[in-house]
């Protein structure tokens, strides 16, 4: 279990992020990015602070934060692996790849490994259709996934 910060601390750190970005035009998304960077996820308490600071309702902030899958409700594992499940990758066998990866890591989609090593997520198109099936590990894209590549990925996240 990762230790999550106390809510007063979340409020203070969120306020710092907000004060940095409040002047931007359309500051909500940048602030949510900043908060995610700060905490590794977007804590519920942070949303309340943001709503108050931007004079939005908490419903609105919740609506925006839940619209984007990349804003996390819980902290991710040390690594984040996204497997593309969109049409082109499906036609090139991404289903089988996903099954193998799940088996190897012992986690399903939207899950984090018990040892907190990795969070596995589906993604719908990385723009790498020419190199399908594709994936993204910690922000680095990987094309032409095969068994060998899977082994490398697994080794990397286990390290």
């Amino acid at each position: 279990m990762s230790l999550q910060p106390a809510s007063t601390e979340i409020a203070a750190r969120t306020a710092a992020v907000i004060s940095e970005m409040k002047g931007l035009e359309g500051p909500l998304l940048p602030i949510l990015h900043g908060v995610q960077e700060e905490f590794g996820y977007v804590p519920q308490e942070a949303l309340l602070v943001i709503a108050d600071a931007l004079n939005l309702s908490r419903a609105e902030v919740h609506g925006v934060a839940t619209f984007y899958h990349d804003y996390r409700k819980q902290p991710a594992g040390r690594h984040v692996l996204k497997l593309c499940q969109a049409e082109a990758c499906q036609s090139m066998g991404s289903d089988a790849i996903a099954a193998k990866v799940k088996q190897a890591l012992g986690v399903g989609f939207h899950e984090t490994a018990k040892d907190n090593s990795v969070t596995l997520e589906p993604v719908y198109c990385l723009g790498l259709c020419a190199c399908a099936p594709s994936a993204m590990l910690d922000g680095q894209v990987i094309g032409r996934l095969d068994d060998e590549a899977i082994d490398e990925i697994v080794a990397e996240v286990r390290r």
Binding site: A51, N55, S57, A59, V61, H62, G63, T66, F67, H69
Partner: protein, 970 residues
């Protein structure tokens, strides 16, 4: 009278799909072969509907801006490709539109088929009423098949209700039944966003959102909370907007769809919203806001929309009752006996103690016609002028102040005026709680860019809430309104921000100069007064500049202005500001008192005050008395009668012995409860005419059961002087509508009254009162409503007053010297108490406490700043003793920084709290309006109710006993 014959059908309002365009340029197009001309900017959908062609729609409704998400309103336009959405496509000159083609039919059926694949209709399970817009569209597009199966991700009810299912579907979310008035069934939601947009665009609360995206999208309240725990204020706009039965009134789900309806007027606050009272089997099953209502344009709040349950509450007394002494239990008697007893008692008292020993109090809750009759009973029957009204304790300074300066005792604008306002200045009012539908309209204007100034000791919701932020909040010390307003005037005069052309043309220039020299005195500068008011001088200067030079400036004010020892002075100061800046006599500006009760304007108009006959004409005027003397056949007393506090004083002195109180609870609503109790206890015949055994009835000898607004015909006049129809939808539960009971009493004391319908009373009012000369029920039936003055000069009423000049001739500037109230803080009472209201409760709570609204506010709490709380060892939720020089009470604390240090705040909705035990008997110098808004108090931790509260409750319990009834469990 047969009510069913009067309104045999359910009123169906046309939904044009998108809002009206206000463009002047007209455009002509052809829809399905019909030529239609509409203003430029109108959507094809609306144009078609106006021409009688209904295009199927799901995500569109004319209360909301078009959205274009449901894809069933598609049309074909000759010369253009594709099938554009008719809700988002504006009309064009010469456009030829087809709404019914094979291609469109196929697309619409396909879209609906997709919808039903994840909707209960998909498996023919009647989950809602079966009569929603969605059901109607499914039928109209000829949906016959569903090729996608019924194994939708969210529509499945629990455990195997759906065919072929044994468990919950993956995205199933249980119904949310937490709101007492409506339920939310996510399984029926089609994510059209109408509810979310209604909450944002119409209500302005932003409590709803669409969570997630794609297939996971769901409407949720707050951050996926229960409705009751969310920011939702239960205004009902979302329920009204929902095209499925996902959001639906519980009464409709339980009792079925209404069968008949009539348009009537809400009996809560002074906004005066129009509703359709919808009835099934002689029971109101729903109150639906009426889109043609000029005050509310189809919107509502939790009170008018849902809190009508008091009308059938078990506490309602349906039989007249009398008793010898107030310590006796009540005895139920016939109407005849009660009326005869009352008449003989009043006759006896007048014979024994003199003509002036009896009087009456009219009600701001009752209709104009009923109020007129009560004052007529006093003047024609009792032959004195001892009539007063509850407006004494709220807006009497408005009448006086605006009468002196402008010449009329009423607000200058209609509510629509707010749509043209650039700067709104709110003083001593919290419309978001007390006038919610107006607040929604104001918030809409603020979101469009208008600026807001709030002068209030408390940081109200108007100061800051979602998408609303006051440009200036002046958190003044209670009791310093005049000082702050005069300093605003100081800035306007000394910085040359006044409108000289307007003043020279419309006002008395010499009086202006006198006033200007007064306000310009250095002691009236923001810097000088900041010591008294606690307001930062820079805020005052900024606010003055904004109000004077920010475009159309409109002032809205409430009881925080009037309920002070300088209430009338404050009203004059407000009037001065508007005149000095030229903010009078056109849309978007003006001085707007926000009236507390549904008919407080009307009760004042109808001659309820002891010195005035209907239409604000002084009783000393011979010509005016002549009108009534010749009609009523009596000689009227030419001296003003007693005001409420004077009646009570006279009672204590032994010269006032009998009173007829219609629809007012003076014991709870008037200041200094102990004084009121003492006065009532000294009387020999107190007649209370009310729905419930209210607190005043504890001291009554006769109780006459009242009728609700649903049980009578008549009119209410709202804060914008608008005379709205009240229509009977149910027979009076206690046999008589209130006007009939008053008439019975009048006959019993020998008056020859023969009204058979309230319209005849209005005819008498029109005949005798110039400002109402053109008003009749026939006119109101025809045009919906009118704003007085309504006469030959203005046959359809007067939305905005003082357009070409002030009613009194020249606008009058009056010096407004600040005089501190005698109520001061000191070492023993270091805090200032001010009082107010909360959204879900209304006034003394007699109605709303008897509805589910108490879920939101079940007790009055004392708001106290964290600093003051800590000093006193008070924690949130603790019982505290609240003591003033007048008395003490206990209630629980709510720690918040909405109030400044040194100020505490509470509401007065619950009789247990008895907030008016605390308030003093200081009052407005001109009108006796009590100073509710300032009381020096001390707060200390406490264990529970005070001795007074215990004694009071015991006395109340004793005095509510009715012979032959088991004691009420309450």
């Amino acid at each position: 009278m047969n009510i069913k014959a009067d309104f045999p059908t359910l009123i169906e309002e046309t939904d044009y799909g998108t809002p009206e365009s206000r463009a002047e340029k007209q455009v002509t197009l052809t829809v399905d072969g019909r030529s239609i001309t509409v203003p430029e900017g109108t959507s094809i959908m609306r144009a078609a509907m106006e021409g009688g062609v209904e295009i199927p729609k799901l995500c569109a409704t004319d209360m909301l801006d078009s959205f274009g998400s449901c894809r069933v309103c598609l049309v074909e336009i000759e010369g253009r490709g594709g099938t554009p959405a008719s809700c988002t496509t504006p009309v064009g000159e010469g456009m030829v539109v087809h709404t019914q083609t094979d291609r469109l039919d196929a697309i619409r059926r396909g879209v609906m088929e997709l919808y039903v694949s994840d909707h209960p209709t998909g498996w023919n399970e009647k989950a809602g009423t079966g009569a929603s817009e969605f059901d109607a569209v499914a039928k109209s597009v000829g949906l016959a098949e569903n090729r996608y199966g019924v194994e939708g991700r969210n529509h499945v009810h629990e455990n195997g209700v759906a065919p072929g299912h044994g468990s919950l579907a993956v995205d199933y979310i249980a119904r949310d039944e937490t709101n007492p008035y409506f339920s939310y069934d996510p399984a029926q939601c089609i994510v059209c966003s109408r509810c979310v947009r209604a909450c944002e665009e119409v209500q302005g609360t932003f409590a709803l959102t669409i969570e997630g995206r794609g297939f996971e999208s769901r409407m949720v309240a707050g951050m996926h909370e229960d409705f009751i725990a969310s920011e939702c204020v239960s205004c009902g706009a979302c329920v009204q907007a929902c095209p499925t039965d996902a959001l639906r009134e519980k009464t409709v789900l339980e009792k079925g769809l209404p069968e008949r309806s009539a348009v009537t007027t809400c009996a809560y606050c002074g906004v005066g919203c129009s509703f359709k009272a919808e009835v099934k089997d002689d029971e109101v099953v729903r109150m639906m806001p009426y889109k043609d209502g000029k005050a509310n344009h189809g919107h509502s709040c939790v009170k008018g929309r849902f809190a009508y349950g008091y009308a059938t509450h078990k506490d309602r007394i349906l039989s007249p009752m009398i008793r010898e002494k107030i310590t006796d239990p009540w005895r139920e008697v016939s109407w005849e006996e009660a009326i005869a007893h009352t008449a003989s008692e009043f006759r006896r008292i007048q014979y024994q103690y003199g003509r002036g020993a009896v009087g009456g109090i009219t009600s701001s809750r009752c209709t104009n016609e009923e109020t007129y009759l009560v004052q007529k009973l006093v003047r024609q029957g009792f032959l004195n002028n001892n009539v007063d009204t509850c407006a004494r304790v709220c807006h009497s300074p408005t009448g006086y102040g605006l009468g002196q300066t402008y010449g009329t005792s009423a607000g200058t604008q209609d509510f629509d005026s707010v749509e043209f306002t650039d700067v709104a200045l709110i003083i001593g009012a919290n419309p978001a709680s007390a006038h919610p539908v107006f607040a929604s309209r104001l918030k809409k204007r603020l979101r469009q860019g208008a600026k807001l100034i709030v002068i209030d000791p408390r940081r109200t919701e108007m100061v800051k809430s979602a998408h609303i932020e006051a440009a200036y909040h002046l958190p003044l010390k209670p009791g310093t309104n005049v000082a702050v307003l005069t300093s605003l005037a100081h800035v306007i005069v000394t910085e040359g921000l006044f409108d000289e052309a307007f003043i020279r043309e419309r006002c008395d220039w010499a009086e202006f100069q006198d006033w200007a020299s007064f306000v310009a005195l250095p002691e009236n500068s923001p810097e000088a007064i900041s010591k008294l008011t606690g307001v930062d001088p820079e805020l005052v200067r900024g606010a003055a500049r904004l109000y004077a030079k920010g475009g159309n400036g409109a002032i809205y004010y409430g009881l925080g202005v009037t309920e002070h020892s300088q209430g009338s002075t404050t009203v004059m100061a407000i009037a001065n500001l508007a005149m000095a800046t030229g903010n009078i006599g056109r849309p978007g500006v003006g001085v707007n008192p926000l009236r507390g009760q549904n008919n407080v304007q009307g009760s004042c108009d109808m001659g309820s005050f002891p010195h005035e006959l209907p239409g604000y004409r002084h009783i000393s005027g011979e010509a005016v008395r002549d009108i009534y003397e010749s009609l009523w056949g009596v000689k009227l007393d030419n001296e003003p009668g007693l005001r409420i506090p004077n009646m009570l004083d006279a009672a204590v002195d032994g010269s006032f012995k009998g009173i007829y109180i219609q629809g007012e609870d003076i014991l709870q609503s008037d200041p200094d409860t102990k004084h009121v109790a003492g006065g009532l206890a000294a009387m020999e015949c107190v007649v209370v005419h009310d729905l419930f055994l209210n607190e005043t009835a504890n001291y009554a000898h006769v109780f006459l059961p009242g009728s609700t607004f649903l049980e009578k015909d008549g009119t209410f006049t709202n804060a914008e002087r608008r005379i709205n129809m009240v229509r009977k939808v149910l027979e009076p539960k206690a046999r008589y509508a209130d006007w009939e009971a008053t008439q019975e009493l009048a006959r019993a004391i020998g008056l020859d009254w023969n009204y058979t319908h309230p319209s005849e009373i209005m005819d008498e009012i029109a005949k005798t009162t110039p400002s109402f000369a053109g008003v009749s029920f026939e006119l109101l039936d025809r045009v919906g409503s009118v704003q007085w003055p309504c006469n030959e000069k203005a046959p359809l009423g007067t939305p905005i007053m003082h357009v070409d000049g002030f009613v009194r001739g020249k606008g009058k500037f009056i010096r407004t010297e600040y005089v501190a109230t005698d109520e001061r803080t000191g070492p023993r009472y270091p805090l200032l108490l001010t009082t107010g209201r909360i959204l879900s409760q209304y006034n003394v709570g007699a109605q709303t406490r008897r509805t589910e609204n108490s879920m939101w506010h079940s007790e009055d709490r004392l708001e106290i700043h964290p600093h003051d709380a800590e000093n006193r060892g008070v924690r949130d939720g603790d019982w505290v003793r609240l003591a003033s020089r007048s008395g003490e009470t206990t209630l629980r604390a709510l720690i918040t920084d909405r109030v400044s240090p040194g100020v505490v705040y509470t509401t007065f909705h619950h009789p247990d709290t008895q907030a008016n035990v605390i308030t003093t008997d200081f009052s407005d110098w001109a009108t006796n309006c009590p100073e509710y808004k300032v009381t020096a108090v001390q707060v200390a931790p406490s264990n529970g109710p005070t001795e007074w509260q215990k004694d009071y409750n015991e006395q109340a319990r004793q005095s509510r006993r009715i012979k032959g009834h088991l004691e009420a469990a309450e």
